[in-house]
Structure formats: structure tokens, C-alpha cells
Symmetry: C2
Subunit: 154 residues, 2 copies
Amino acid sequence: MFTPQPIGYVSSPFTDPTAIPKGCGAAHPEEGALQILPEFEAGLTDIEGYSHLIVLWAFDRSTGYDLMVTPPTDDKPHGLFTTRSPRRPNPIALTIVELLGREGATLRVRGIDMLEGTPILDIKPYLSNIPAEKLRRGWLAEAEARKAASLQIS
Amino acid sequence: MFTPQPIGYVSSPFTDPTAIPKGCGAAHPEEGALQILPEFEAGLTDIEGYSHLIVLWAFDRSTGYDLMVTPPTDDKPHGLFTTRSPRRPNPIALTIVELLGREGATLRVRGIDMLEGTPILDIKPYLSNIPAEKLRRGWLAEAEARKAASLQIS
């Protein structure tokens, strides 16, 4: 296997994990930057043509994991691999960001849900979608439906 | 940083990298399996409710990288981070697969583009799409348009 190395770091408005919106319908409108290390800048050539990027990064402030997790979106436990929990056997995270602009090795992006100083592992182009009519979202869809129903009742 | 560890291995019809379809419009209809290690099986609880999964895996047969890459889809070089090249500073790959079924720690899936025996790093639920009208795909869209135009001419 490989040894993970940062290709850059996130500039984020978030310094406290509890301030990052989580759970059902959490929006991530925050802007920030991906500060890529100078030695990798050439790898960003032509990236301006893409509207969205896949960012892989390390949950560097998370330790250990449990195989059953009760996520913020539900009151029942579910398998770890059906959740986005930061505590995982390989603590690799994935965020889709909107690319707003580039200045040299700095990518200005919208959709930041990382903490300030988070190490970035990789950037890939976002190329295509799964057709919406083919997508099923398991327990999360059920939890959202329950939440919506309880809001209508109350 | 963390030390990557396999949570399982891919059962794939592909044993030769050159047999995997690549480039413009490459479809990946192949079926295979994600053989998760027994000690992680509980983490799959409730995964049957999801139609699509994000699989993170290691390009374990790739070494080194170049920051400029000429991909199979184009005849011009582009920045590494605008491509899906297997040769990357952190050789982590991402594949979206359709979940066909589960037997214990084995997930039968469609959309395999990994080699037989590839180590799996993580599985995450696929939850949402970027609206198609907001998606721009940079040099890849241009290369596809050029290819389509040349097919019309010839």
C-alpha cells in the first residue's frame, strides 16, 4: 500500500467541528480555498474548465471507529459504510465542491465542509451523475420522510 | 496521517488493465463483487437500501506520477488533477457502483472497473447529484465534441 501525503491544505471558515452543518438537508454554502502545494501546481492545468471537483481529504482529527453508528440524521444505528461518519478504518473523506476560480496553486471553492488546515489527498474531475430516477437512498430517505412527517404534524 | 489498510478486495472479471474500457463514453456494465473482510461485515448493516455506492480503492499496481498527462480521451496533455489517471501522488481511486445484492460480507455490484484482487479502502453511500444544468466538464467535453464532429465528417 501507499503512504498518504498531503497535496495541499484547506483554508476554511470552520475551526470547530461542531460548527459544520450536519444531517438531513444540511447545506454547505461556505466558501474557502484549496491551497495546493507549489510542487503540485502544474497538475491543476486546465482545471478552470470544470464546474465541480471531487476532493479527497483526510479526517486528520478523527481516531478509531465503530462498525455501528447512530448518525445525526436518525435515532437508530446503521452500518458504518452506510454513513459519512469521520471515524472509519481508512479515514478518507470526500467532498464535492464548486470551483469558483483559480489563482496559481489556490482554488477558490464553494461547498466547504472541512476544518481549517485539513490535509488534501487528491482532486478529481466530477464528470457525471447517476440518473435521479435510479437512485435509492436507504435509511437516510426513510429518516428524512419521518422527519418531514413529524414537522407536518407539529 | 493514517496507514491505509484494506477493508476487503474486489472480485473482478478483469485481470489485465488493458482490458478495462477507458476514454470517451466508456461504459462499465461488468458485474463483480466487493468481498469485505469478515471483521468489517457489521459495517454493511442496512446497505441493501442503497442503489449506488461510492467505492474508494487503491491503485495498487501503479507507481509514480506525472503532473501533465495525455489521457486516452484526448491527444493533448492536461493537468493530472483534471484526469482519472491511476498514477497520482496518493493512488486512491473512486468508482460509483450499482448495488445488486448482498450475501453476508459480499456485495454484488455492477460497474466494476477495477482489477481482480484490488484492495478496497472505503465504501460510502451515494446520496445526491449535482444538477446537470450546473455541470461543466472542461477539456473532456471539448474532446468529446471534437470526436463526435470527426465521426460525423468521416
